[in-house]
Amino acid sequence: MAGSMYESQDLYLDPSIKYWVLFPIMIVMFLVGILRHNITTILSVNQSLSTGEVKESLAVKYGRLFIANKNYIPESTFKLRKNYWYDAYNSGKYLNDPNATANGDMLDPANMESTMTGMKKAFANLIPQYVLMSWVSYFFAGFVIIKLPFYLPTRFKEMFQRGIDTQNLDISWVSSLSWYFFNLFGLGGIFSLILGSNNSAGSAKDIAPQMQMAPNQKDRFNKLHKSLAEEVKIVEHSWALDDIEDQILIKYGKKSPVNNDKKNK
């Protein structure tokens, strides 16, 4: 058996397989990709943010920065900010909608719209993929279409000869369904050359994120602000510039660090 692996199995492929199976699959997949790119461009709606939404997300960013860099400003102004932001976060001053509840209102038009765009995108991505795959596996079932010029271990049989149930066929022969998968993964590079890197022609990697749609929680920011209020409340100030003079003097060798340590004790 092992010997027969290396004897090249000469299959003679009808050249019309090349013209009627190999090229059509590739060309159709390519065209579908371009078509999909255009459809997604049409379907995608420009979502513009409102002032309130910008405000609430930037307030969160501010809180994080404040907590991280609080030690670089003098204590008096630190306290001023601490009190102000604690109140602001607690009272929801910077929130878009202070009374939002979890999951929001399903009938809220804004909510509906975002759900719809997500679904549109997912469909535009998935439907062509399903159609193409069933087209290939229905019309070109069991075709052996190309031979790779190198040998591969038997484990790749699943990958290269999907749709053909022959045990002894050499691994370097590729079936039509596998050719479909090669195109699915391989055309991404060509699309990004033609349509630009942010295209939505979609290779396999585009499908994955669409599948898990994030739950659209309306009160996400309300929770964030509440937790930031707690964080701001407990944050302590230790001025980074307290002993900066000594640090400078040590840096320029005017004062020895040992001396400084004694002093602190």
Partner: protein, 255 residues
């Protein structure tokens, strides 16, 4: 000028072969560059290309360019009107907000500019260092040092690794007579930027003042203050070595 030299042949000769998005970015830069060099007719000519492309659709980016042309012509009122109209439709467009503020500054309408900036910063509360710095400048022009100091604190909070912000803060603290804090921030500047002459002069000045002032106004010991003064003098002398004004500086340091 460089922008015009580089962008003009691109737009004129190879417009259609450029990437779809890229070509309008270059075009926008070219138009702004023409406005900078006060060649308004050329800017308008190129703006037509954009207009042809988007036809009647509303675009805040195009509106911004219209406003800028009015600004360049000196019709500040018209420009303000255009920006306000645009903001009604697209309220989160940072660039248009900033243009509106800039017009008011150019117009000499400082109070209005401060109001608008405050309103802008209420929304874009984090991450916009330039806006805070601009507001600090405006407050300083109005002699409102406390408010300016607040703005600089915001910038330091945003980016605590930039020594120039500390320097600005120290200068302002100096202005309002809080020499102890000023000295600390000058030291911090020196810590981050080894040969900052302004910081050295600042340390020299503030500490000379602190040496003379009463004990309750300062938190550092006289010993440290003297050491800092010596350090500043020494470093300044070193930095000015072999420069044309060496003698003047040495003369000053001896005083």
């Amino acid at each position: 000028m460089d922008v015009i030299e580089l962008a003009k042949p691109l737009i004129d000769g190879k417009f259609s072969s450029l990437d779809n998005i890229e070509r309008y970015e270059i075009l926008e830069q070219l138009i702004v560059a023409y406005l900078d060099t006060n060649e308004i007719d050329k800017a308008e000519k190129y703006l037509k290309l954009v207009k042809d492309k988007i036809k009647d659709e509303f675009s805040s980016r195009l509106q911004k360019l219209y406003g800028m042309i009015e600004e360049a012509k000196g019709n500040y009122e018209k420009a303000i009107e255009i920006y306000n109209e645009t903001l009604k439709v697209d309220e989160v467009n940072e660039a248009v907000h900033k243009r509106l503020i800039a017009v008011n500054i150019a117009n000499g309408n400082r109070t209005e500019a401060i109001n608008l900036l405050n309103k802008y910063l209420e929304v874009f509360v984090s991450g916009d260092e330039d806006a805070w710095l601009q507001l600090a400048d405006l407050y300083l022009l109005e002699n409102q040092c406390q408010q300016a100091a607040y703005c600089i604190e915001e910038v330091i909070l945003t980016n605590p690794k930039n020594h120039l912000y500390y320097l600005r803060y120290a200068d302002i603290m100096c202005c309002i007579g809080r020499y102890q804090i000023a000295s600390k921030y000058y030291c911090k500047t020196l810590d981050l930027c080894n040969d900052n002459i302004r910081a050295l002069y600042g340390i020299l000045y503030t500490n000379q003042y602190l040496l003379k002032s009463k004990a309750e106004d300062k938190s550092t010991s006289d010993e440290t203050i003297k050491a800092l003064i010596d350090l500043a003098k020494e470093q300044l002398a070193k930095l000015y070595k072999k420069s044309p004004c060496e003698e003047v500086v040495n003369e000053f340091l001896k005083q």
